[in-house]
């Protein structure tokens, strides 16, 4: 049916992409911008990964071998910042750009020019941030959570670059989320009611509201830092009547929803993939939507569980402990729903499904350690140790990142019209799966045994687990270069993909030809039950 759509528009000028660099600089096409976001995200992922490998190389053995402690702190800080703001978030925005219009039957994003702007801010923001690593004073070295006063009174001069970088990333995210909300609420094809939307669209709708709510809070926090540093205010300076703990409250009021910003779209991706390869509809669609909304709501009232050791009153500790524990309920509902979708299905295990299954298992392990961390008295022992590092890497690497990789394998044939090589994809999966567990599982042990995070050198009893962890990190790191090879090989010389690509796939995007035409759904499609909420 889309051929008809294209033919109907011949009376206008040519709708194909521009030639050369201009296409990418000036594009307002959601598919082009999605592609830009995804490549940018992958570039940042490689840079952040190199920093991680510097960290793991230094921690391979006790003692200082490769880098000095000050530089080590720059590595941990920028690894965190680049992965969170440069790799995971733009990765999901790239997926949203490609998929949301095709999934709701819209011709493009609601605000295409703003879409261009929100992408093109990012390379400048990250150039600003990363350039500090090459300056005399060195880059940010106060951790990705940049607690004051280490990040204000005691920060290197380059902190101002960091602050403006964060401002720019925030502006980009806010514009991106406005665009996604506007697209979903206004541009759905007739018949695509809210409760018929694919779950990926639902999770992104909720994520976009979270972004809209908390990115301004982050901007406020860094602006107050800017004033403390340059204009003599004392928001976070105890000597001037300010409060370093207030910084943490503000930061985590942003930071905890931010965590869910990085995981809710992952829930969406997995909820698309598991039904396809189980050849069975998603179990409990309605409860999935409600669970996502509950998690989003709870994310605003649990922030201080990151701060159990700052010395809050007992009542505050209890409130944040109970509220945090509640998150286990909607999260559990999601996991049970995925398992029930697989139950009595007719499963096959192509690469996207492998990554999705690994997501469910390993994310759940991260959820268990999260539940343990919620228990305040126990958290006094876990806090700021490698147990926490293991926890959040389990939810972010085999969690958020695996879902992005799964999404790329799943939708790449639709994007470029070619199939990836299944055996290479499976090899990539197993290397990643082994790498990620060898890296992060031992960190639970070193954390429980008492190893603090963010240290360049450690006592001898932690040596064995750190060595294992470093080996795993290098396996994992290099297998992502292999992923790059697989993707390029697919785009250049993969076998042509069918329109439906996967026999069990449902959803409007699969009704388009492969590769998806530059302009799709210029006339709204008919939404049949078969293509609704898969």
């Amino acid at each position: 049916m889309s051929e008809v759509v294209v033919a109907g528009h011949d009376d206008h000028h040519d709708h194909g992409p521009d030639k050369g660099l201009a296409r990418w600089l000036f594009t307002t096409n959601h598919k082009d911008i999605g592609t830009l976001y995804l490549w940018f995200s992958f570039l940042m992922f490689l840079i952040g990964g190199v920093l991680a490998l510097v960290i793991r190389a230094e921690l391979f053995q006790p003692g200082l071998q490769f880098v000095e402690p000050g530089f080590f702190n720059q590595m941990t800080t920028n690894h965190g910042l680049i992965m969170v703001f440069g790799a995971i978030m733009p990765g999901f925005v790239g997926l949203a750009n490609w998929l949301v219009p095709m999934m709701v039957g819209a011709p493009d994003m609601a605000l295409p020019r703003m879409n261009n702007l929100s992408f093109w801010i990012l390379p400048f923001a990250f150039t600003l941030l990363i350039s500090t690593l090459f300056m005399d004073a060195g880059g940010p070295n106060f951790g990705w959570t940049f607690y004051a006063p280490l990040s204000t009174t005691y920060a290197p001069e380059t902190v101002t670059y960091f602050i403006f970088g964060v401002h720019m990333m925030g502006a980009s995210s806010i514009m991106g989320s406005i665009n996604i909300i506007a697209t979903i609420l206004n541009m759905r094809a007739p018949g695509m009611t809210l409760m018929k939307m694919p779950l990926f669209v639902w999770t992104w709708l909720i994520t976009a509201y979270l972004l809209l709510a908390v990115m301004p809070v982050l901007a406020g926090a860094v602006t107050m830092m800017l004033f403390d540093i340059h204009f003599g205010t004392s928001f976070f300076n105890a000597a001037g009547g300010g409060d370093p703990v207030m910084f943490q409250h503000i930061f985590w009021f942003f930071g905890h929803p931010e965590v869910y910003i990085m995981i809710l779209p992952a829930f969406g991706v997995v909820s698309q993939i598991i039904p396809t390869f189980s050849r069975k509809p998603l179990f409990g669609y309605d409860s999935m939507v409600y669970a996502t909304a509950s998690i989003a709501f709870l994310s605003f009232i649990v922030w201080a569980h990151h701060m159990f050791t700052v010395g809050m009153p007992l009542a505050g500790q209890l409130f944040f402990m109970y509220a945090t524990m509640l998150i286990a309920i909607p999260t559990g509902v999601k996991v049970f729903n995925w398992v029930s979708t697989m139950w009595r299905g007719s499963m096959s295990f192509e690469t996207p499904m492998l990554f999705a299954i690994a997501f469910v298992i390993l994310f759940t392990i991260g959820g268990f350690s999260g539940l343990m961390l919620a228990i305040t008295p126990a958290d006094y022992q876990y806090h700021d140790t490698y147990f926490v590092v293991a926890h959040f890497h389990y939810v972010l690497v085999p969690g958020a990142l695996f879902s992005i990789i799964a999404a790329v394998y799943y939708w790449l044939p639709k994007w470029c019209g070619r199939m990836y090589d299944e055996s290479l994809g499976k090899l990539h999966f197993w290397l990643s799966f082994i790498g990620v567990n060898v890296t992060f599982f031992p960190q639970h042990f070193s954390g429980l045994a008492g190893m603090p995070r963010r240290i360049p050198d450690y006592a001898l009893q932690f040596a064995d687990f750190n060595m294992i962890s470093s080996i795993g990190a290098f396996i994992f790191g290099f297998s992502q270069v292999f992923f790059l090879y697989i993707v390029i090989k697919t785009i250049r010389s993969g076998k042509p993909a069918t329109d439906r690509v996967w026999e069990g796939a449902h959803g409007l995007e699969w009704t388009l030809p492969s590769p998806a035409p530059y302009h799709s759904f210029t006339h709204p499609p008919k939404v049949t039950d078969a293509e609704a909420h898969s």
């Binding site: 003692g63 071998q65 402690p69 000050g70 702190n73 005399d136 106060f142 006063p149 280490l150 009174t153 005691y154 105890a238 000597a239 409060d243 370093p244 703990v245 050849r279 069975k280 998603l282 179990f283 409990g284 669609y285 309605d286 409860s287 050791t309 700052v310 010395g311 007992l314 500790q317 209890l318 402990m321 524990m325 309920i329 509902v333 049970f336 398992v339 697989m342 139950w343 009595r344 299905g345 007719s346 499963m347 759940t364 392990i365 268990f368 343990m372 228990i375 305040t376 008295p377 126990a378 022992q381 806090h383 082994i434 042990f445 429980l448 045994a449 008492g450 603090p452 360049p456 006592a459």
Partner: protein
């Protein structure tokens, strides 16, 4: 999958054996034991849930494969099931929250202390002050990392307590309730003794409170580390506590009070240049060498060299000024708050007569006191 199972089995074995390398330490206080039990309780709950959930998943993956001829069912909801798996976790959470609340309430019972110690975090060392009832302190000292740079840089074999050894540990008596008041001078640090079952952030401008009673049969040395990123040497500020039998502690404390008298006398004494150099080298090694380097060359441009520097070879007034008051906007701290006049005199003298520096002055404690009076 095999790895995962292996990992879990490993964790279970660790839990069973209580091995220090794999699991949380039980610790020595009543609180730390309660925390450990709580930790194991939640851990086992998670293991059981994990077995059920992953078990169902693997069952499905094995039996409901297309390759095994499975045909997909059509069901996609069940209100009863969904209510059940919302309610069951809620009950489990109540079962966890109840004991957790009890332990937390016990931890917050900070009253009735026998001894109060102020713990103050500095970049990158701890200061311990024994407070009397009016919060005045006669006995106070710094606790610095003792591990030599040679061990850190791999030029010497690493000792048993590598990075976990200090020049002077915090001393506390067993069998008495010790209250800790925790704060910081510069950035946020965190004071953690795993065997006592708690950590508390040391935050400038805020006094945090916590406590410990080490049982009488558990005298010994307990080691931990700073657990909040506090700058360059965050990894190099261990926490070491020596829990002593009560009579030994009392004797030590009496002796410290006497030493305090001696220290005060030193402030009015005149030292020979040799004495100043010897004392100065020790102070330099502890407080200055991590930035300005043992050879005085620093790490330019962040940490300037002292060897041949304008400050260390120019007017002594300027030199005293920067050591006493620090330099804002840099890592140079105000050592006037940390060292006494005798130590300042010695280290300034040492810096002005070491490496290629050779000024013709001798700095005595009274010179420092005079400078501070101006």
């Amino acid at each position: 999958m095999a790895r995962l199972v292996a990992g879990f089995v490993l964790a279970l074995m660790a839990a069973g054996a209580g091995a220090d390398e794999l699991n949380m330490r039980r610790g020595v206080t009543e609180i730390s034991n309660a925390v450990y039990d709580l930790h194991m309780y939640i851990f086992w709950i998670c293991v059981v849930i994990g077995i059920v959930v992953f078990g169902a998943m693997f069952w499905a993956m094995i039996h409901h494969r297309r390759a095994a001829g499975a045909v997909a069912a059509k069901f996609h909801e069940s209100t009863k099931l969904e209510i059940a798996w919302t309610l069951a976790p809620t009950l489990i959470l109540v079962a966890i929250a109840w004991p957790a609340t009890q332990v937390l309430v016990a931890m917050y019972d900070t009253g009735g202390e026998d001894l109060t110690i102020e713990v103050r975090g500095y970049q990158w060392k701890w200061q311990y002050k024994y407070l009397d009832d009016d919060y005045n302190s006669e006995v106070a000292y710094f606790s610095n990392l003792k591990t030599p740079q040679d061990e850190i840089h791999g030029r010497k074999e690493k000792g048993e307590y590598y990075l976990l050894d200090v020049d002077e540990p915090l001393r506390i008596p067993v069998n008495r309730k010790v209250r800790f008041l925790i704060t910081a001078e510069d950035v946020i640090h965190s004071w953690w003794v795993p065997d006592f079952g708690f950590k508390r952030d040391a935050i400038p401008g805020i006094m945090n409170e916590t406590w410990a009673i080490v049982p009488p049969d558990k005298a010994g040395i307990y080691r931990g580390q700073c657990t909040e990123l506090c700058g360059k040497d965050h990894g190099f500020m261990p926490v070491v506590v020596n829990a002593m039998p009560e009579d030994e502690f009392d004797a030590w404390y009496a002796e410290r009070l006497q030493q305090e008298e001696v220290r005060k006398e030193a402030l009015s004494k005149t030292f020979t240049p040799e004495e100043l150099m010897a004392q100065g080298e020790q102070v330099y090694g502890t407080y200055c060498a991590s930035c300005h380097m043992p050879n005085g060359k620093g790490v330019p441009p962040v940490f300037p060299a002292l060897d041949g520097s304008a400050i260390a070879t120019g007017p002594r007034e300027d030199h005293l000024n920067i050591v006493l008051n620090g330099k804002t906007g840099t890592a140079m701290q105000a050592f006037g708050k940390q060292l006494d006049a005798a130590q300042i005199a010695a280290v300034v003298h040492y810096e002005r007569h070491s490496w290629s520096n050779n000024t013709d002055d001798v700095t005595q404690p009274r010179d420092v006191i005079e400078h501070m009076g101006q």
